[in-house]
């Protein structure tokens, strides 16, 4: 199995940046034995949610702000840290249940729910900016 090339990059606060970054991370994971479901659903959807949250909510699409993305793998566990320049949010308080009947027809409110459903762990902490850390075990979690 090829060694996993860690990534550390900074992208502008532009949602057009999301798809190529996600594609690159998924491409690296494909060489590590992640299963089809993880490569086609868990990783791309959860990564897209984390990046769009950082760009739209954290940085408010401010062109002067950037998002840092760090990707590493250790002991068959992928870690992706997405850091924005925003004030942060309460991960627990902001994760609603979009599957409740009263929420089902709402256009928004599924992002954090999906991140948590599709990853093994989702954590958030303050560093230089606000960091959301996603963890997925290779071949393990399958929605």
């Amino acid at each position: 199995m090829a060694a996993f090339g860690a990534l550390d990059l900074r992208i502008p606060s532009d949602v057009a940046q999301i798809e190529p970054v996600v594609a690159e991370i998924v491409r690296r994971c494909a060489a590590q034995g992640f299963n089809h479901r993880q490569l086609a659903l868990n990783l791309p959807v959860a990564l897209t949610e984390a990046l769009s949250n950082a760009i739209l909510r954290g940085n408010g699409e401010d062109a002067a702000k950037s998002v840092r993305v760090r990707v590493s793998m250790r002991d068959a566990e992928l870690t992706v840290e997405v850091e924005d320049e925003g004030m942060g949010f309460d991960l627990e308080a902001c994760t609603g249940d979009p599957t409740l009947p009263e929420n089902l027809e709402k256009e928004e409110g599924r992002g954090l729910f999906l991140m948590r459903a599709l990853m093994d762990r989702v954590e958030a902490y303050r560093a230089n900016g606000y960091v959301v850390r996603l963890t997925l075990r290779c071949g393990g979690h399958a929605a």
Partner: protein, 110 residues
């Protein structure tokens, strides 16, 4: 993402090729709303060539279904692969939409 729109009888079929995500969801929303303004009421969205969908993409589908139903029409979904089907089940949106395994069945369901 690219959209391919075709008419079949009084129905409209929208093929989504690529990812339906936050960066392109407005394109789908505007195209379908324009068609609805022009009188389209039966719309099938075909996901045979769709990669993944994020929460923004799901939100647009919910929003479009609400609008079409207000106008007396509806949206039907077709050709979801196993991963997309799982996404709809996780979010329980499989209870909000009628989902068919082929576009022909989706057209017949109106």
């Amino acid at each position: 993402m690219s959209l391919h729109v075709t008419r079949q009888g009084d129905s409209l079929i929208v093929d989504i090729e690529g990812q339906l995500i936050v960066s392109n969801r407005q394109e789908l929303k505007q195209r379908v709303l324009d068609e609805a303004e022009s009188g389209a009421r039966k719309i099938v969205i075909d996901f045979a060539r769709t990669g993944y969908i994020d929460s923004a993409g799901l939100g647009v589908l919910v929003s479009l279904a609400k609008r079409l139903r207000e106008l007396g029409g509806d949206i039907r979904l077709a050709n979801l692969n196993d991963d997309l089907q799982t996404l709809f089940e996780l979010t329980k949106l499989d209870t909000l939409f009628q989902i068919s395994d082929t576009r022909e069945r989706a057209l017949e369901s109106f």
